[in-house]
């Protein structure tokens, strides 16, 4: 049954990814104004415009353009940037590692802080530490990340020189420097994520502690530590995994903004500059790649879940 479940889950992503590509294409092609004119500036002659249109296939009907674009994607070709003399694929390839590094670092920070905090909060419900965690989490989800980033820069980079204010150093070049440089942006991105995870952990832990099977475990004469660890924790962390996957989109959204604050040369800045410059092929390509990444992460999370929860694959 498990293989069948995996097969279904994988096959289900195909139409979703297809849909994502259609949506991206439609959005970008519904843009008002002529990208070519924008690109060439107002002095462009009509011949120039026509030439470029021809070169980029912009005179073809939309579905042909879509088919060409999709055909290209399947071969790894996302088109040509209008403003930089490079392929979109190459642009993304140069930016993706920075974003992934930031995302993974944020996630690690969040998980390490949030899950223990959520557990403590649930187990000591009503205590001072519970209130602390609850309020902290509330603050975390409410604080705008770009503002938090600026405050962190002000405090830890400008006032006290603890961490550098961003600037990506590839971990392959200098791991220590890479970690120092990623610290502030990762804390910025990870804060809201940690807050969400802590809230989820707390509520799902509380949920479990109220279940009949926890009473049952108690009636067997198990100590409270064993009850928490065996009968509540594993079960409680399952929904946390799902939430973590769903909120990965939140993480990706956050990087777009936070990269701007920390001058982080990732996908977010790429999207931002492409939007500013109306470089539509680049916008199209980067949005598609980010969305695909998100969809795939959710598949992985689902499959992990099915592996961990004995009930999923059997039903």
């Amino acid at each position: 049954m498990r293989y069948r479940y995996i097969a279904i889950r994988l096959l289900q992503t195909v139409p979703v990814l297809f849909g994502v590509s259609v949506v991206v294409f439609i959005i970008i092609h519904s843009a008002p104004g002529d990208p070519v004119v924008n690109m060439l500036g107002i002095e462009a002659t009509d011949e120039n415009v026509a030439q470029i249109r021809q070169a980029y296939g912009l005179n073809d009907p939309l579905y042909v353009q879509y088919a060409n674009w999709l055909g290209g994607i399947l071969q790894g070709d996302l088109g040509q940037s209008l403003t930089q003399n490079r392929s979109v694929t190459a642009l993304i390839a140069s930016r993706l590692p920075a974003t992934l590094f930031l995302a993974v670092a944020s996630m690690l920070i969040a998980v390490v802080i949030a899950i223990p905090a959520g557990i403590i909060s649930a187990v000591r419900k009503g205590s001072a530490s519970d209130y602390g965690v609850t309020l902290g989490a509330l603050t975390g989800i409410s604080i705008p990340n770009f503002w938090l980033g600026l405050i962190l820069i002000l405090l830890f980079a400008r006032t006290y020189n603890v961490f550098p204010p961003g600037n990506y150093v590839p971990p392959s070049e200098d791991p220590v420097a890479a970690i120092r440089h990623v610290a502030l942006p990762a804390i910025t991105v990870g804060t809201a994520f940690a807050a969400l995870l802590a809230r989820q952990t707390r509520s799902s832990m509380l949920d479990n502690l109220n279940q009949e099977y926890v009473k049952m475990a108690k009636s067997k004469g198990l100590g409270s530590r064993k009850i928490f660890v065996r009968h509540a924790l594993k079960q409680a962390l399952l929904p946390v995994i799902t939430v973590a996957g769903l909120q990965f989109g939140y993480l990706l959204s956050a990087t777009v903004v936070v990269e701007q604050v920390f001058a982080w040369p990732g996908m977010g800045r790429l999207i931002w500059s492409a939007v500013q410059q109306q470089d539509y092929p680049t916008v199209q390509g980067t949005v598609l790649v980010v969305a695909t990444l998100f969809v795939l992460i959710n598949v992985i999370v689902d499959l992990t879940y099915s592996y961990l929860d004995p009930r999923v694959s059997a039903s």
Binding site: Q12, Y213, K215, S219, K234
Partner: protein, 725 residues
């Protein structure tokens, strides 16, 4: 009372609620001798489960023991710390929980959950614990324990899970087992298995048992002594053989008399409702409902005192009484109790004396009404539920087969009759009921209403002539509409001309509610009242046929009786036809004129109620009837306990559906699927009875030579359904 294993004294438990503190149980006292089986019986709100959880120290966060003591084997459990309690739980006292579905941790294997208990309390290695666990699974009669030990709870059926819970409970040889409604969530044939198992385990191990239940029959069949609880207090206790035969407390008598029985007596009504914990009256809690109450009853809570022949000792006398050491009639020679071991909490008990447990009224002989022409008829009705939840799931090979909920059923309902549809869960009875109204689309077969196929009956006509009464009072009414609004929609939908307000008042009066109830929202009503509104809604369109799906199963015995009587009265007065669906044979016995028994999507037997209950033909019907616990402790228990579980309806067995559990199964049952064939006593789908088919048709005659070919069976069936009504 020093020789008692468990001694509960004046136990009072409070719960903090947003509306202040509420006492769930008050001054509960009882003893359990070692090796004794005590039943604690009561309706909802009686506090019986709270009592169990107070003993175990398993109250919810907002609950606390306000007063009293729980002495087990010499120490007071209420004074132990949580850490000290862990040494007592599991080894000295263990609990079997009610709901096998939610009491096992889903992410741990069955083996882990058993062995962790053993490892906690015993000095054994993991391998030894595992061996013991397999042994325990064997003792609770789970087939193939070596492989079951590594499964997860969701892979097991409800009955098997309950066995696992029992295995865990007995794993460290506790002196006392507390079983909190261990069979309530189970089907009656599975219940019989579990009760049997519990009984054997308890007597083999000489364990004491406290059995908490709402079912008087379970107590009568499995317990030595009983404590009857009402509104948070024990009102009467003593040996089952005496309490259930000569009850002293009016509530005990009322409960016994209002319980529907398989036997040929008409249950009596017990008027009123159990008061809520916050609204218990001054004085005796039962006084407002008691036919014997006087002004004396409204002064103080009556103490639980020995019910002597004439003597009425003081409260202290209760403890002094056993010293007299009078012999007890119940045969458990070693137990020494108060006067006949009986106590009752009633100030008037000396005036009232003993009461009659069985209602006087014999079942009315006019039960079978004049039966009219057939109004609803189903022929070869089928319903499959696909388990695939997406297109992909359907297209990919290797998916689950569909659930065949209703598998080629014929049935007919005559005007003015009540047809009882009885079966266990998964038998398809509810689905069949829903198919009659097209609440669910059928997969195959034909249903005729008034002689016309449903497809030809105009929607408007169908909806105003056949109605449904639902099961769950908490789900059957829209919580955001007042009673008046709920009825208003229904009335206007079918007769826009009438004065709606008058009709609402009429309907509410007809179902025994105050017309002012119209302003209430469902959450302001009790369960019984909600069900009455559900009936009123169905009546709002003046239907000819009502399909009632377990309308009383969520209600307490006394409330259940009131609703059944209401339905019966309405049916008679309006000349309705009714299909009454229930898993409860005693309820069916009470209300139905004719009964159809379902098993795994098939009707296995149809017959008039008296005949079917008196002389069941199908082995399944027979087993089902024998499995119902009888509240009469003197009744001869000759239970047929069916083996195994109801097969997965996705993969029904070859041949007869019942073959896997049938005590009478023959070789040909595995290959031949018996049709429903008529005979003198009704219709039955069993090869055992097919040779007695009346030889009216040539096909019927050939049957006697052996199992019928399917065509032959078809013809016989067609014959059968012709004269079976």
């Amino acid at each position: 009372m020093t020789d008692a294993l468990l001694s509960v004294r004046d136990l009072t438990t409070e719960f903090a609620t947003p509306n202040g503190s509420i006492r769930a149980i008050e001054d509960v006292s009882f003893d359990v001798e070692s090796g004794e089986k005590l039943g604690i019986v009561g309706e909802s709100g009686s506090g019986k489960s709270v009592t169990a959880r107070s003993i175990m120290g398993l109250l919810d966060e907002n609950g606390r023991i306000a007063n009293g003591s729980v002495e087990l084997g010499g120490h007071d459990l209420t004074s132990l710390s949580e850490r000290e309690l862990t040494d007592v739980r599991g080894t000295e006292v263990a609990m079997i929980f009610q709901d096998p579905m939610s009491s096992l941790t889903p992410v741990l294997t069955v083996g882990t959950q058993i062995t962790e208990t053993i490892l906690e309390h015993r000095d054994v290695t993991k391998a030894e614990a595992r061996e013991q666990a397999i042994d325990l699974l064997e003792q609770v009669r789970i087939p193939d324990p070596e492989s079951v030990i590594d499964t997860y709870p969701h892979q097991l059926s409800g009955g098997q899970r309950q066995r696992v819970l029992i295995a865990i409970a007995i794993s460290c040889d506790p002196d006392l087992l507390i079983a909190d409604e261990p069979t309530t969530a189970l089907d009656v044939t599975i219940e019989a298995q579990i009760l049997d198992l519990l009984e054997d385990l308890v007597s083999d191990r000489e364990t004491s048992l406290v059995q908490i239940t709402h079912d008087l029959g379970v107590v009568a069949e499995t317990c030595d002594r009983v404590a009857v609880m009402y509104a948070g207090r024990v009102v009467e206790q003593g040996p089952v053989s005496e309490v259930f035969v000569e009850p002293r407390h009016p509530y005990t008598a009322g409960l016994l008399r209002s319980t529907p029985r398989i036997a040929d007596v008409e249950p009596e009504l017990l008027a009123g409702n159990v008061p809520d914990p916050g609204e218990r009256p001054v004085g005796c809690n039962f006084a407002p409902r008691c036919p014997h109450s006087t002004d004396d009853c409204h002064v103080d809570d009556p103490p639980l005192e020995p019910a002597g022949a004439a003597s009425r000792p003081s409260a202290e006398g209760r403890d002094a009484a056993p010293a007299e050491g009078r012999e007890v009639a119940s045969g458990e020679g070693r137990e020494a109790a108060s006067a006949e071991g009986r106590e009752v909490a009633c100030v008037r008990t000396d005036d009232i004396g003993t009461l009659e447990p069985i209602p006087e009224a014999k079942r009315e002989q006019t039960a079978t009404p004049e039966v009219g022409p057939t109004i609803v008829e189903g022929e070869r009705v089928e319903k499959d539920f696909s388990s695939a939840d997406s297109l992909l799931d359907r297209l990919l090979p290797g998916g689950e087969p569909p659930v065949r909920a209703v598998d080629g059923v014929d049935l007919s309902l005559a005007e003015g009759e009540t047809l009882g549809l009885v079966g266990e869960s998964g038998s398809g009875k509810t689905t069949l009921g829903r198919l009659l109204l097209e609440l669910t689309d059928r997969t195959g077969g034909e249903i005729r209403f008034d002689g016309r196929p449903l497809a030809e009956v105009p929607e408007q006509e169908l909806r105003s002539r056949i109605q449904f009464v639902f099961q769950d009072p908490n789900s059957s009414l829209n919580p955001r509409q007042t009673v008046g609004k709920i009825l208003r929609f229904a009335i206007k939908k079918h007769d826009a001309a009438t004065d709606v307000d008058d009709r609402i008042a009429e309907l509410l009066t007809e179902v025994g509610l105050d017309p002012e109830t119209r302003h209430d929202y469902p959450h302001q009503l009790s369960g019984g009242q909600k069900q009455r509104v559900g009936v009123a809604r169905a009546l709002a369109v003046d239907p000819d046929v009502i399909v009632a799906d377990e309308p009383t199963s969520a209600l307490d015995v006394s409330v259940q009786g009131q609703l059944l009587d209401l339905l019966d009265d309405i049916k008679r007065e309006r000349g309705l036809s009714m299909v009454f669906i229930s898993h409860d044979l005693s309820v069916i016995r009470h209300i139905a004129d004719r009964v159809a028994v379902m098993y795994l999507g098939r009707i296995v037997e149809v017959g008039d109620t008296r005949g079917l209950f008196g002389a069941p033909q199908h082995p399944y019907t027979e087993a089902l009837l024998s499995a119902v616990p009888d509240p009469d402790p003197g009744a001869e228990v000759d239970r047929i306990v069916l083996d195994g579980e109801i097969p997965d309806p996705k993969r029904p067995p070859e041949g007869c559906n019942f073959v896997t559990r049938c005590p009478e199964a023959m070789a040909e049952c595995e290959s031949h699927d018996p049709e429903l064939v008529a005979n003198d006593d009704g219709e039955v789908a069993c090869l055992l009875h097919h040779d007695v088919v009346r030889g009216e048709s040539a096909d019927g005659a050939t049957v006697s030579d052996g199992p019928p070919e399917s065509e032959a069976g078809d013809a016989a069936r067609a014959d059968g359904s012709g004269d079976s009504v």
